[in-house]
Symmetry: C2
Subunit: 292 residues, 2 copies
Amino acid sequence: MQRLNGKETALQIRKELQEKVLIRKELGKKTPHLAAVLVGSDGGSLSYVTAKVKACEEIGFDSTLIRFDENVSEDTLLAKVIELNEDQNIDGFIVQLPLPHHINETKITDTISPNKDVDGFHPMNLGNMMLNLPGFLPATPAGIIELMRRYEIETSGKHCVIIGRSNIVGTPLSMMLSRNSNPGNCTVTLTHSRTKNLKELCLQADILIAAIGRPEFVSADMIKEGAVIIDVGTTRVDDASRERGWRLVGDVNFKDASSKASYITPVPGGVGPMTIASLMMNTLKAMELNGK
Amino acid sequence: MQRLNGKETALQIRKELQEKVLIRKELGKKTPHLAAVLVGSDGGSLSYVTAKVKACEEIGFDSTLIRFDENVSEDTLLAKVIELNEDQNIDGFIVQLPLPHHINETKITDTISPNKDVDGFHPMNLGNMMLNLPGFLPATPAGIIELMRRYEIETSGKHCVIIGRSNIVGTPLSMMLSRNSNPGNCTVTLTHSRTKNLKELCLQADILIAAIGRPEFVSADMIKEGAVIIDVGTTRVDDASRERGWRLVGDVNFKDASSKASYITPVPGGVGPMTIASLMMNTLKAMELNGK
């Protein structure tokens, strides 16, 4: 059993991006610039956004954090999105979700220019992904694909079973892995809360991807010998033995899975760090696509 | 075994649309207007487009057929698309594919306004479909969903295996059937040319959908007892016993399947007629969405 070390891979990607930025700077070219919009002061959202901004700084990207009070009007937020769309200095930007209930998330997401949508949430980017055309891929699925690419995991003709059909992980990943691409060309089964024979399906998976946010949901009896296991779950579980009082737990029982899997992503240090690395890759790509 | 009679269902839908148009006319409201753009004189494309225009006439829709020589420039075609986007009298329009090689199909499709894209091929509409948001659904998959709806086929929790990942049938259908909707909520397995254990997978299907264009590819040994069989294939096969010299053959061996299936779509008269019915439904919807 080999661990798919997302932490190490993400660091490697950051190092590569850092070098690219240095070369660009030496050539007098523009530095990639990511803007992040945060509404309110939810602890989770704040820590995600902070991590993204920090990652930019570390690799030499420019970054701008724009914060709004949680009572900000939809119109004000839309106006900011339009301003960022038009700002030649900003290559890509994200609006951290979720947004407060009085703001229509779809309206905000749809207003972001697809060319600056480095989160890959815009329907135009999702549609192009479905058609296997260029565009921005959602960060977490793209990070998983990149991790598989770098570990040279064979995907063509493999049966991939995905647990969870969320808009940001399970659903786009099902598309990406079934396209005629590499990594890709998997036979993909997308399962969800209505699936009746989940265990039976999981046992057929050459590649099993769990993305439902239920701690240690996947047990040994659901895993085929030699399967590749990708664990997207990150749930905080109380742990009195840790100073901070909690630990991160994935959707897969790691001990169970370790005895059967050929490859496995640990939690933490697997898929998580790859998400920010993808976002950085998308930002560089946004700048290059805009011909800068 | 019950036949899913697409021909009869499509006629019923046309009748319903005809009634709606009549009521609209009595109220002095606008008549739905579909435009179809045809480039060149390929026999298949011509007969598809002619059938669509004829369907419009039969149900009382307005229709406009716009024909270009096969040497038309991309710029001329783009200009026509933009003109149709802006024409308040046209509610929806299609550009019949395939286009000659010197024209970039993606560029044409992307230029069609998503609000008039009654073929449902625009990435924006596909992306919205993925997010389970409103938009135009591609005509053939939407026709299949409508047929299942009208025959009250239970889909929730069923395992649906789709053979073929084309952009216009297999791929969008895999999305539509896996969404949290009704029909929908299927566990969907999308298979294709790289799939290794196709027979084994098909045997698990409660709903088996074949969309690869290989005559009688699906045989009895691939079908689970009681399965619902949807046959999207329509290949012309030489047949000296017919006056016209050919007959239409589906992707499923009908005789084989009849002995095992609970429901089955015949070829012809199954999925085919539903495609045009969907297009007509989309056209009426386009007009209503535009507030007319």
